[in-house]
């Protein structure tokens, strides 16, 4: 049962293409497991289609169709070169979201007591700050705030904070106005997270590792 969804603003930005690529991957991971948000996304794409139909057509150059016809049989761009995907140790039965198929995934790196980090590199947007995090159970994070939008999709295990209990499939959304004191569940937690700005850790783990 999924109880935490992306905000309407984040879903709209995802549907219209305005969301940063890193956040878009985390939202896509959520959509793959959440029929309700997937339906909302489809509804917004239908809305985009309806608006597209309403545009006054802008004529193309006379030769445009002939030019495109001449290219129909060209080979499609080659698929991306082989990706480096580390085989992450995951609890049995757990697999990574399908949306990470096209991403490079680094090994688990130990970055602090009970905290492992794996860099997720998006070949189409390598500057984005996306990561997998594995947190040991039961630790408490001190009170703090953060800058920019941060999205955290729970893949396994969970955590809780003042906004509720987060389990697999739930997405946490935080920005500079949010203040949390999240605590990982006893079994721990594996999340996919995206952050704005430079390489730094998200609110969820900052003080686990500190």
């Amino acid at each position: 049962m999924i109880s935490h969804h992306p905000s309407p603003e984040t879903l709209l930005a995802h549907a219209t293409g305005a969301l940063a690529a890193g956040h878009a991957v985390v939202v896509a991971a959520h959509l793959q497991g959440c029929a309700q948000c997937e339906a909302a996304q489809t509804r917004m794409e239908s809305l985009g289609g309806a608006l597209l139909e309403e545009f006054a057509p802008e004529p193309l150059a006379d030769e445009a169709f002939a030019q495109v016809l001449a290219r129909l049989d060209d080979p499609a761009p080659a698929p991306t070169a082989s990706l480096r995907q580390a085989r992450l140790a995951l609890p049995s039965g757990v697999s990574l979201p399908a949306v990470l198929r096209g991403a490079e995934i680094g090994r688990w790196l130990w970055i602090g007591l009970g905290l492992r980090y794996s860099r997720v590199r998006l070949p189409w947007a390598p500057e984005q700050n996306v990561m997998l995090l594995k947190v040991a159970g039961g630790r408490k994070v001190l009170h703090h705030s953060h800058g920019g939008l941060e999205l955290t999709q729970v893949i396994w295990g969970g955590f809780h904070d003042i906004t509720g209990q987060y389990g697999p499939g739930d997405i946490g959304e935080a920005d500079e106005t949010t203040e949390h004191q999240p605590v990982a569940d006893p079994e721990g937690c594996i999340c996919l997270a995206s952050l704005e700005g430079g390489l730094r850790l998200p609110w969820f783990t900052r003080l686990f590792g500190g």
Binding site: G48, A50, L51, L52, A56, V68, A76
Partner: protein, 174 residues
């Protein structure tokens, strides 16, 4: 039409798609602030993608315009990234669609989309403009603030209201 393009590589069906969608795709890109030459070039790329990706079209998910919208949106994102760094690859394609959706699910989708168009046209002019700018502007919040002469701080709640109004209109429909 798109299914015919996918299944039999029907160039006549493709020509009809081109005639209908290419000028609207170009209008979309121009609306996002792209100059005419660039929009023309990217429209051709998008139309080529429509040919190549026709196999991913899922009529149970949405109509042709919905699918074309998603393709233009993604092309626009990739284009903006490549303008910064030409070496970047595009996003990987989604999983293959189920090519045999039931007639019932297609009929439901068609009905859902007709309701949505109806709801969209029942919005007041200002709310409709907010929805349009949300979808097609590069910087939606600034564009909405300028177009409606609103302080930037109130734009977020206006967008939320417009989207909520749409949902209410949809729910009120038979």
């Amino acid at each position: 039409m798109i299914s015919r393009v996918a299944e039999t590589r029907d160039r006549q069906a493709y020509a009809a798609l081109f005639k209908h969608f290419a000028p609207r795709v170009k209008a979309y890109l121009r609306r996002g602030g792209m100059d005419a030459g660039e929009a023309e070039e990217l429209t051709q790329e998008v139309m080529l993608n429509i040919w190549r990706k026709a196999g991913y079209f899922d009529a149970a998910r949405g109509g042709a315009a919905t699918w074309v919208f998603a393709i233009v949106r993604n092309a626009r994102i990739d284009h903006a990234r490549r303008r910064r760094d030409a070496r970047l690859t595009g996003q990987p394609p989604p999983e293959e669609a189920d090519l045999a959706p039931s007639a019932e699910s297609i009929a439901l989708t068609t009905e859902r989309e007709a309701h949505l168009r109806c709801a969209l046209n029942s919005l007041g002019p200002e709310q409709k403009q907010i929805v349009q700018l949300s979808f097609f502007s590069d910087t939606p919040h600034t564009a909405i603030a300028n177009a409606l002469n609103l302080p930037l701080g109130t734009v977020k709640s206006r967008v939320r209201l417009a989207m909520a109004k749409l949902r209410v209109l949809l729910e009120e429909m038979p």
